[in-house]
Amino acid sequence: MKNRNIWWGTLWIALYLVLSLAPLGFMLVGERPIGREFVRELSVALGFVGIAMMALQFVVTARISTITLSYGSDIVYHFHHYMSLVVLGLWLAHPVILFVRFPQTRALLNLITAPWRARAGVTSVVAIIVLVIISVWRKRLKIEYDRWRIWHGILAVLALTLVMIHAFMVGKYIGTPMKRSLWLGYGAVWVFVVLYVRVIRPLRIARRPYAVADIRPEAGNVWVLALKPVGHAGMRFMPGQFAWLTAWKSPAAHVEHAFSFSSSAQRSEHLEFGIKELGDFTSTMSELQAGHHVYLEGPFGAFSVDRYPDARAYVFIAGGIGVTPIMSMLRTLADRGDRRPLLLIYGNRTWEEVAFRKELEELQERLNLNIVHVLERPPEGWEDEVGFVTREMLDRYLPSEERQVTDVFICGPPAMMDAVTTALLELNIHPKQIHFERFDLA
């Protein structure tokens, strides 16, 4: 399983490189042009690679399970974020080089007098600039997540379409029939990818609806959403994974959110999600009623005990709602009759906000599970831990003889995960033994 993930991970990087560099290969096909200047060729080559890498962004975020399983969704999304800055750099470098070396080309910036090929090019660059601005500063610009996702999709497709039009209309570099057919084939691949992601897959998901079986409040503003499959066998997943959930609207509508399973992976016909009432989507969860149909896409993610079955012990460190995927892992281990030593260090602000605390107590009877509650504001007479999860605390609870054979799973607010990771590394836990799930994907 692990070897297969490494194999897929390597294959995807190789494919990424081949597809990004393919346009450069197309440039070299056929006879070499005469009398072209290096600077102009460099500008064109950067532009072509920029187009390919922009198109690849659609593949990176297409939720292809072999990609997310190999790297984990958090790495895939960070790759997407950083790569978008590289793409922006390439898209800007192409015209800037031309403007500097050939000042007469600056006239193309005047959209009133410029030819259509330049209008398409300039507009595509404006679209990608706006796209990056609203994505990097979404929160500062106070753009709601759902609205941002719609604009993100529109601008990305617009930018890519316009830039392809620009390249075809300029035509000089794809003029020969051979080059034209290579580019058409390449373009067809991308049309298929976009069709698959936006049309074919949503249709497949629509054929497997789920009905809301129950929605009940938990402590700490958490809702538990229970689903049962309608007319199919449900979804098999690894405990700790997540799925994209679309409620009310059709699965083609771009209003959906990622939620972690909280139920046991042994029961694919009864799925539960722990959902914190936070954003505009989750705050309307309470409006959902039993019988409503929702759609699920997944499972995704690499945050699971099932990927590390040989560990002799597991340690879970949760902050607030981050306990959700860990609940799934604990319930699954309990259903399987697992007797390995388990430790859960669970941080919350107050005792009232501790979600699933009653069920955790029940799980202790079925598992070899030790639970340490860490509260920022403990009630009077509190005897467990106080404050935040610290290195000193971890040192006390992690038996030194087991540290090299234990896998640690962390899920919580980013600041807490960073602090805990640093502490674990200082305690000589190998990075390979530390696993994360980040909820702040957007």
Partner: protein, 32 residues
Amino acid sequence: MRHHIANWLVFLITLLVLLATVIVALLQSGAA
């Protein structure tokens, strides 16, 4: 911590792509 993997991937791929771009531009312009 894990983000470093993404950072390194982005860095290495960008470096490789830029290198290939320069080589192709040199070949196309007849400088190489």
